[in-house]
């Protein structure tokens, strides 16, 4: 029997991002950006992000859901093109999923959100807006100045007066 109904119950590790070594430097750079993008990695530690439990052939089969929700390499994301919308949806959904996963028996909900997580992580990673990046950066820039100033005064054995 072919198709999704032929699959067995399984749990496993989500496929890693394929190596892009043969592609252009630009795409490598893009991949690095994706790999480095921390919002999703902070929200979901690797063991939580990478593992899924799927039921074979059922509505909650992770691969079926992945297809439905667009976490398929050949399909376009249903929320693609509206990154802010994707970001908003994913944050609320994933935040909810974190709470739900505290209950190990809640496989149904986990199976439901797992493919969404894949889709939304792509949205978060790939379409972070410049404003969001600068929103992260500006407090850091201000913090650097504060730390350097404090460090210059506190790290010196001498009395330092800064103008």
């Amino acid at each position: 029997m072919d198709g999704v109904n032929d699959r067995e119950w399984r749990s496993g590790i989500a496929s890693p991002m394929p190596s892009q070594s043969a592609t252009s430097p630009r795409s490598e750079i893009g991949l690095n950006a994706i790999n480095r993008s921390p919002p999703i990695s902070r929200a979901f530690p690797l063991p939580v992000r990478s593992f899924f439990v799927s039921a074979p052939g059922g509505v909650f089969d992770a691969e079926v859901l992945a297809h439905i929700f667009g976490d398929d390499a050949e399909d376009e994301s249903p929320i693609g093109g509206t990154p802010n919308c994707a970001w908003t949806h994913s944050r609320s959904l994933l935040a909810t999923s974190l709470v739900s996963e505290a209950q190990p028996e809640n496989l149904l909900w986990r199976a439901l959100v797992t493919p969404l997580r894949g889709t939304c992580s792509g949205a978060i990673n790939g379409v972070m807006t410049p404003d969001e990046a600068l929103t992260l950066y500006r407090p850091i820039r201000a913090g650097i100045q504060r730390v350097l100033k404090t460090g210059l005064v506190g790290g010196s054995k001498f009395r330092v007066r800064l103008q």
């Binding site: 430097p25 921390p38 969001e132 992260l136 850091i140 820039r141 650097i144 504060r146 730390v147 506190g154």
Partner: protein, 186 residues
Amino acid sequence: MVSDLALFEPNQRGTRAYDRFLGDHADTLEPGDVDLAHQMAGARFSILRVLGSHDLAGVWVEDVINGGEPIWVLDEGLEVSAPDGVEFAMRIFDAGDFYAGFGIVVPADPEVTDFCGQAVSRGNRLPVRHSLAAALYADAIWDEWMRLEEEHASRPRRAAPVMSCDEPSPVHGPSGAALRRRRSYI
């Protein structure tokens, strides 16, 4: 520049003032800055080459001396002013989402970049007297002084004021072209 060197360059015993500060006076930092301060402890000074603009903000750079993967440096000034391929030196640290600099960017002489790259590839120490940062900061200050001197020399002179013998005459160094080669390298 002086502050940067004072905090982040190790002394003869290999210790940094910044580490001493983090160890002894970290409580003087604002609570929200403590994590950032520890991230900043991992800062490194290196020569970087701009690969291109990042899609969001800042630039992609590669470490010319140490190699490695391209680095996303989020710096609005660099994004605006640094063309692709330009080489510069700055102290950067991993801020989590991206790398951030301390705001001091100095040009990197291609000759120096080449020498440093060769030295590192052969496992030798960098061909600088004290530290790469100190050498490049000194160059930057020296070049700026030369530029100002040349600007000053090219201005049309007014009639020379009458000066008494007691007044010091304006001091002009040798020509900038000759002095530009005076570097702080070994």
